[in-house]
């Protein structure tokens, strides 16, 4: 109901703007993207179809308004009970179980941009629903330029007011006795005494400096910080923490995260190609640190057709409370304090990504296409990601077939 109201409000603002100012509109852009994601590593699998549609109108030079919708249709299964190699050696790999996952995430968003001279202000709001998650999010940003447009600065801030569904726990039980959420039935209804709602607040800040150094070379420096407070565990997952004792995953409620990214773009006139390089360093209060390197080459094959290839490498350390087996005796296996997790993304691992993209743009130098289109752009993308887990097993069984595949098509029309 709330999503319908949010979508309705966004649509009404866009429609009113379009109807009132059609005669004066300078540009209207419509985007739609359709993505299929698939992975099937050991003991789990996930297929997600994600459609989205966005519309942005610029009725005046100083104002743009936009609205959009996206969804995730999720089907698969995930690990419900995680154990490590020591436990698996005595109990077998069948102690690790999986549970089916079906969800439908809907997100409505809207926003505006105000411009005056070399300054612009951006505001966005989004509301999303899942069977077990609700999110209200807004972000604001301010941009300006200096030195004849060669230096650009932006600061932005975002806040999420989120809620996650969880299993009601007995107040007398310690976390080691907490029971995982069985399924999402009864979530957010207020009628099921075995369901409760927990808050998550996320504050994010980012500062960006982009610089054009020569007609073919530019750089960007970005700093991002984020503070998350609230329930961050997977409510469905439990971890075997002692002989015969499986407890709901228990992660710290506070996390502060920092990232610094540096980018450089250089254009090769003889090749009609651009090389984009990126490096990122990350660290947080859960003791995860990571490094990311990315290179992308994009080239015009014909005037309307450009193709790109990208490679990315990522490596991270594990969270300070991560262990592959909390029942395994002394660290590195065994207890790691008051927290426990069965999350692969909190373990030490590396990943690589390879991707291809092609974009074809139709535009007319004499008037509009079909009398009303300024340009029409179609893109197709394919990515493959491979993961290599150093210290994550399912009762001693390494994660095999740890690859994810993503394919997407997108269409953008400019009126």
């Amino acid at each position: 109901m709330q999503l319908a109201r949010a979508t309705g409000a966004v649509s009404a603002v866009l429609l009113a703007t379009l109807l009132a100012r059609t005669a004066y509109a300078q540009a209207v852009e419509v985007d739609t993207t359709h993505t299929i994601f698939h992975e099937a590593p050991t003991k789990s699998n996930m297929t997600v179809y994600s459609p989205s549609a966005d519309l942005e109108a610029t009725p005046y030079d100083w104002l743009s308004v936009r609205g959009g919708w996206e969804a995730d249709v999720v089907s698969g299964s995930s690990v419900a009970v995680k154990a490590g190699p020591a436990y698996g050696a005595t109990h077998g790999t069948d102690v690790v179980t999986s549970a089916s996952v079906h969800d439908f995430r809907n997100l409505a968003r809207g926003g505006f941009t105000l411009r005056k001279d070399i300054v612009s202000f951006v505001g966005n709001y989004s509301y999303s629903t899942e069977h077990d998650y609700r999110s209200n999010s807004f972000n604001i940003a301010a941009r300006t330029e200096a030195y004849e447009h060669n230096s650009q600065f932006e600061i932005s801030y975002a806040h999420n007011f989120d809620q996650v569904c969880d299993r009601t726990q007995s107040q007398s039980d310690p976390p080691a006795r907490y029971v995982p959420l069985e399924d999402s039935s009864g979530c957010f209804t207020g009628t099921n005494p075995l369901r409760t709602t927990l808050p998550i607040a996320v504050d994010s800040f980012q500062a960006t400096w982009s610089q054009s150094w020569t007609p073919i070379f530019s750089t960007q420096l970005v700093y991002t910080a984020q503070i998350t407070n609230g329930f961050q565990s997977n409510p469905y997952r439990s971890v075997i923490i002692a002989e015969g004792l499986a407890a709901q995953e228990n992660e710290p409620e506070n996390r502060t995260r920092h990232a610094v990214a540096a980018r450089a773009n250089i254009y090769f006139r003889s090749l009609k190609a651009a090389l984009r390089l990126s490096a990122r360093g990350y660290w947080d209060t859960w003791a995860i640190s990571s490094g990311t390197g990315e290179a992308e080459l994009e080239k015009y094959l014909l005037e309307p057709l450009r193709v790109s290839a990208r490679l990315r490498y990522y490596k991270q350390s594990g969270a300070v409370f991560y262990s592959d087996d909390y029942s395994g005796g002394n660290p590195p296996l065994g207890p790691r304090g008051q927290y426990w997790t069965g999350d692969r993304e909190l373990s030490p691992f590396s990943s690589w990504l390879a991707g291809l993209r092609a974009v074809y743009t139709l535009s007319s130098k004499q008037g509009r296409l079909g009398g009303f289109l300024t340009s029409l752009r179609a893109g197709v993308t394919a990515d493959i990601i491979g993961f290599s887990y150093e210290d994550f097993t399912l009762a001693g069984q390494p994660i095999g077939n740890a690859r994810s595949y993503l394919g997407a098509v997108d269409l953008t029309a400019l009126f």
Binding site: V48, R105, S135, S137, F205, S218, Q226, Q316
Partner: protein
């Protein structure tokens, strides 16, 4: 503390050197080309960013907007 001060000095020097740069408006055609944009095609990049954010322990450097968990 010394690390932060060194960072501030480095950024100040870079900013000062930026003021000496003069790429004139008529020289900006390549910089304005879609293939020279840092954010690329934002709508096309969003799905892979979403997938990576939910499979890695890291975050940041790409913007702070967004909403919902979509953690699958």
């Amino acid at each position: 503390m010394r690390t932060w001060l060194s960072g501030l000095v480095l950024i100040s020097l870079l900013l000062a050197s930026a003021s000496c740069v003069t790429v004139r408006p008529q020289q900006r055609a390549i910089l304005a080309d879609p293939i020279m944009q840092f954010e690329g095609d934002p709508h096309a990049n969003a799905p892979i960013r979403h997938a990576l954010d939910n499979r890695e322990g890291s975050f940041g450097g790409d913007g702070v907007s967004g909403g919902g968990c979509g953690c699958n």
